[in-house]
């Protein structure tokens, strides 16, 4: 067991966990933040994407210990305030970018990261770029049509 400390959604957290605990299990099982999901066991589906020190990470692929001291943001922490929605969350709702909702947190975390990266690099996030950037996130319900629309809309809302 090791005491793993990190800041999650702006709150300092510290939990004793077995050394081999994955970040996703630390978030889901220890912190009980269950918006981060597990959809596969090969780092393919992207349902577990969170931000670690500002970068999108598949939390099933990282040990909790590797996030020692990091700033972690999960779907529960993306909005500015308790009653607010992040513009990307609003865009997913307004464009019907979700059906069963299971992949949605990972999609939104991936989307906000891609918008930020493209903005920082001064690149245009067009439809082809969105589709390519979603390579690591699988949705079985929507056929991606409305997810792509949501991200384009969310990007403009974030601008």
């Amino acid at each position: 067991m090791t005491k793993i400390s990190m800041t999650v959604n702006g709150k300092a957290r510290s939990v004793d966990v077995p050394d081999n605990t994955l970040l996703v299990d630390y978030i889901r099982e220890n912190l009980r933040l269950t918006g981060t999901h597990v959809g596969c066991d090969t780092s393919q589906c992207g349902a577990c994407v969170v931000h670690v020190d500002g970068q999108a990470v598949k939390s099933c692929t990282m040990l909790a210990a590797a996030a020692q001291g990091a700033e972690v943001t999960t779907i529960e922490g993306v909005a500015a305030g308790k009653d607010d929605l992040h513009p990307m969350q609003t865009a997913f709702k307004e464009n019907h970018g979700l059906q069963c909702g299971f992949c949605t947190p990972g999609m939104i975390m991936t989307a906000t990261d891609m918008v930020k990266r493209y903005k920082e690099a001064g690149k245009t996030l067009d439809e082809d770029a969105i589709r390519e950037e979603l390579e690591g996130n699988i949705c079985r319900c929507t056929g991606y049509h409305n997810i792509v629309k949501s991200i384009a809309d969310g990007a403009s809302k974030m601008a």
Partner: protein, 787 residues
């Protein structure tokens, strides 16, 4: 009037919890004193179990118990059953082999569970499961129908000689043969329908709690039909009587058929909870999902269609061999029979259709309904044959279809179904216009200038949904009725709760069903709550599959609303001293037409519950229930047109345009319906070009992860052009037909017809991967070179 009624694009009520990470899925639930289950699964496709040594596992830290199949059957837990009896041509019943939730003496597929470890943590359970030593006597195995039906093939169940489950037929063989003998032209094709893994993104999960004090069980589970689960767990698996078992399906992350069935793991978690007196949780890994979730499709068929000299279809004859896996799953027998062959008349006027179907056991995971369930197999078969026939006859594939369309309704096909409505030519015309078929030759020429082969393919699908009239399916062998139930509770303050036997796992029922009530009583949807998925809250209902929740589930709600409306009018007429016939419900009020006399909607609710001034003899309260049993199937239909570009050097195929024109009858929320079509088409494109569940000859699953099983991703699919050209369904009060499966049914033939058009070779099987497309191109080139 509210703008949230029928036809409005209302944003979804359920979205907020999903976009904020507050959804409550089964794996999110943690019970006090919860233990974890890990299953010991067979690594062999076929073997006798010689011994199980759990001593090392039992001694490991945190291990509560290691349980096996002999203990399970010893406690009276019943075998898993198939709920639809099919009778063979010779009158004999189907050969259902015994299936215990934990195998006792023999395992029949890789992943068949032989024992379960219950431990304090997931990691401890998994580690201990690996320490259970099982000694197997490995037997030869078989994994596909063509191998399993051979003489000398390994025998999987003692009561199924030759691994044959049943040999069934539909239609008139002699008349079909006679009609085909007169045909001016015949098109014959060998067609396979590839095996698929459903892959809802949320893996299956169960949390079972036995409460010793009350002798009561609670099961949270990923189910599309919690009442059916409770019924089967009680009546057949003897876990607990129904009144001692509560089944809750909370937020469920997609189903697509895979979450209809009651799997071994749920049975074992319930039983293990009783054995250990702890809550027991199991959540499937994706690897386990590939091994144990029921697969879909897996047909091998030969089909012959005959045409007269004017290109009218005279007969259609089909033989299909279907792989049902190692055991008969809950509705497995109905999929390659009544959900499949009854649609083999397609959208066409065909006097003679005959199909016979043989189903077989193999050493693979059970095969059952997957989005579309039988209807995609029928549509793929008939639409590929139509397109190929048009090419052979040298006529336009759209026009060959048009001249054979059914145009008069009702239309009785030779294979049971009586189509009630449709405008097939209307859908064809709408899709052709939207796809700019007229401009295709120019686009093809332009693509050729870039070295690309461009092709266009049609699919005119029809399906039978609104499953299903209970007496009709009962006469065909179904073990259950397929009606739906609803209860409408108007609370004393006028808010409304709708309790429905349907279950939403992505379909947006919380919004669509509320829109129905909003339309009826002119109330905002935020005043309406949809309650589903809990056997303690909701009256018995049949759940969601077969595109039934609109046509059947909402019809039940509509019937209950009729009763509420009648009572509301009676109360208002009494209080306002008017005639019931003059009462109208509008703008949050219940009014007397043509006067200024009115009560607020909430005042009627309050009147019903205070009961101070009700009509004489009226019971207090405002709550009504209804059961709705459909009188016929519904028949969604449409036309899909796919356009592709193939790189002849690599076989890489891009879908450059996909156009859909669907007839779903009445549409409540077009936004949600379009979303269903987008998702369905994508699953169909997945089947057509990417997805394939592959076993090797020895029964080892080769496509057991997302590294090997190719799921469609965002950059594999295009944007879709989706439109609706609807005729009203006369069979239910709302005129609805259903939209959940259409995309997955209609799209595979459109894709393959487009690719085969591009490459000039009809000999292409799904999934049309680049290597297969490239090989098909080489076949054409070789044939040309030989000429």
């Amino acid at each position: 009037m509210t703008d949230q009624g029928i036809g409005a694009r209302v944003l979804r009520k359920e979205d907020k919890r999903f976009i904020t990470g507050k959804g409550k899925y089964t794996d999110d639930i943690i019970e006090p004193n919860q233990a974890y289950a890990a299953f010991v699964r067979s690594p062999h496709a076929h073997a006798n179990v010689k011994s199980i040594d759990a001593s090392a596992a039992e001694a490991m830290e945190g291990v509560e118990a290691v349980l096996n199949g002999h203990q399970l059957t010893g406690d009276g837990i019943g075998n898993i059953i198939c709920g639809w009896g099919i009778t063979s041509k010779d009158g004999s019943p189907m050969n259902m082999g015994a299936w215990s939730a934990l195998a006792t003496d023999k395992v029949r597929y890789v992943g068949d569970a032989v024992a379960v470890v219950i431990a304090d943590s997931k990691a401890q359970a998994q580690a201990a499961a690996e320490a259970v030593i099982v000694e197997y006597d490995v037997l030869p195995a078989t994994s596909n129908v063509l191998a399993t039906l051979k003489d000398g093939a390994p025998q999987i169940h003692e009561n199924a000689p030759g691994n044959l489950i049943f040999d069934w037929e539909i239609g008139n063989k002699d008349e079909t043969d006679a009609a085909l003998a007169t045909a001016h032209h015949k098109t014959t094709m060998d067609i396979t329908n590839n095996r698929l893994s459903p892959n809802p993104m949320e893996p299956r999960s169960a949390v079972a709690t036995f409460n010793e004090a009350d002798d009561h069980y609670t099961l949270y589970t990923t189910s599309q039909n919690p009442h059916v689960a409770r019924l089967v767990l009680s009546a057949f698996y003897n876990v607990a009587p129904e009144h001692k078992l509560r089944v809750i399906a909370p937020d469920v992350g997609g189903g697509f058929g895979a979450k209809i069935y009651i799997y071994p793991e749920e049975i074992v978690c319930l039983w293990a909870s009783m054995k250990t007196n702890r809550s027991v949780k199991w959540t499937s890994t994706r690897s386990e999902a590939f091994l144990t979730d029921a697969h879909g499709r897996d047909h091998v068929s030969t089909a012959t269609m005959g045409f007269d000299k004017d290109n009218n279809i005279v007969g259609f004859k089909i033989n299909t061999k279907a792989n049902l896996g190692a055991y008969m799953s809950l509705f497995s027998s109905s999929v390659p029979t009544y959900l499949y062959a009854t649609l083999l008349s397609g959208q066409y006027n065909i006097a003679n259709v005959y199909c016979d179907v043989q189903t077989y056991y193999t050493n693979t995971v059970p095969v059952d309904a997957y989005r579309g369930a039988g209807r995609p197999e029928a549509a793929y078969l008939i639409e590929r044959v139509m397109e190929t026939a048009a090419r052979e006859l040298g006529v336009d594939p759209g026009e060959l279809r048009r001249q054979n369309f059914v145009t008069q309704f009702p239309h009785q096909t030779p294979v049971i179904m009586a189509y009630d409505s449709g405008d097939f030519a209307g859908n064809l015309d709408e899709a052709k216009a939207a796809a700019d078929v007229a401009g295709f030759p120019a686009r093809k020429a332009e693509a050729a200038s870039r070295g690309k082969l461009r092709g266009l393919g049609y699919s005119n699908y029809i399906e039978a949904c609104g499953i299903a009239p209970s007496a009709a399916v009962g006469s065909l062998g179904a073990g259950v009725g397929l009606w739906e139930s609803a209860e409408v509770r108007v609370n004393p303050v006028g808010t409304i709760e709708i309790l429905t036997g349907s279950h939403s796992h992505g379909q947006g029922h919380e919004t669509t069903f509320a829109q129905l009530v909003s339309e009826r009583f002119d109330l905002p949807t935020e005043n309406i709550q949809i309650v589903h998925g809990d056997t303690d809250k909701v009256q018995f209902g049949m759940g969601t599959y077969g595109s039934r929740s609109g046509a059947v589930g909402m019809s039940a709600i509509s019937k209950a609303l009729d009763k509420v409306e009648a009572k509301v009018k009676k109360i208002a007429a009494h209080v306002l001293e008017a005639s019931e016939d003059d009462i109208i419900i509008e703008g949050g009020e219940v009014k007397v037409k043509g006067t200024d006399k009115a009560m607020g909607w909430h005042e009627v609710g309050l009147s019903a519950y205070t009961a101070h001034n009700l009509p004489e003899g009226m019971e207090p309260g405002l709550k009504e229930g209804a059961f709705y049993d459909p009188t016929n199937f519904t028949f969604p239909a449409g036309c899909y047109i796919c356009e592709v570009e193939v790189d002849p050097a690599t076989g890489v195929t891009e879908i450059v345009q996909f156009t859909a024109s669907d007839d779903f009858g009445t549409i409540i929320n077009p936004m949600i319906v379009e979303g269903q079509v987008h998702g369905g088409i994508t699953q169909g494109i997945g089947q057509a070009m990417m997805e394939h569940a592959v076993y090797d000859e020895g029964g080892q699953l080769l496509s057991g992860s997302y590294m090997d099983y190719c799921m469609p991703r965002a950059d594999d699919v295009p944007n879709y052009t989706v439109s609706h050209h609807s005729t009203v369904c006369p069979g239910n009060p709302l005129g609805m037909k259903g939209c959940g499966e259409a995309g997955a049914i209609g799209s595979p033939p459109a894709v393959i017809n487009a690719i085969t058009d591009a490459i000039g070779n009809n000999n292409l099987h799904m999934p049309a991967t680049p290597s297969r497309v490239w090989a098909a191109i080489q076949q054409v080139s070789a044939a040309h070179a030989a000429e």
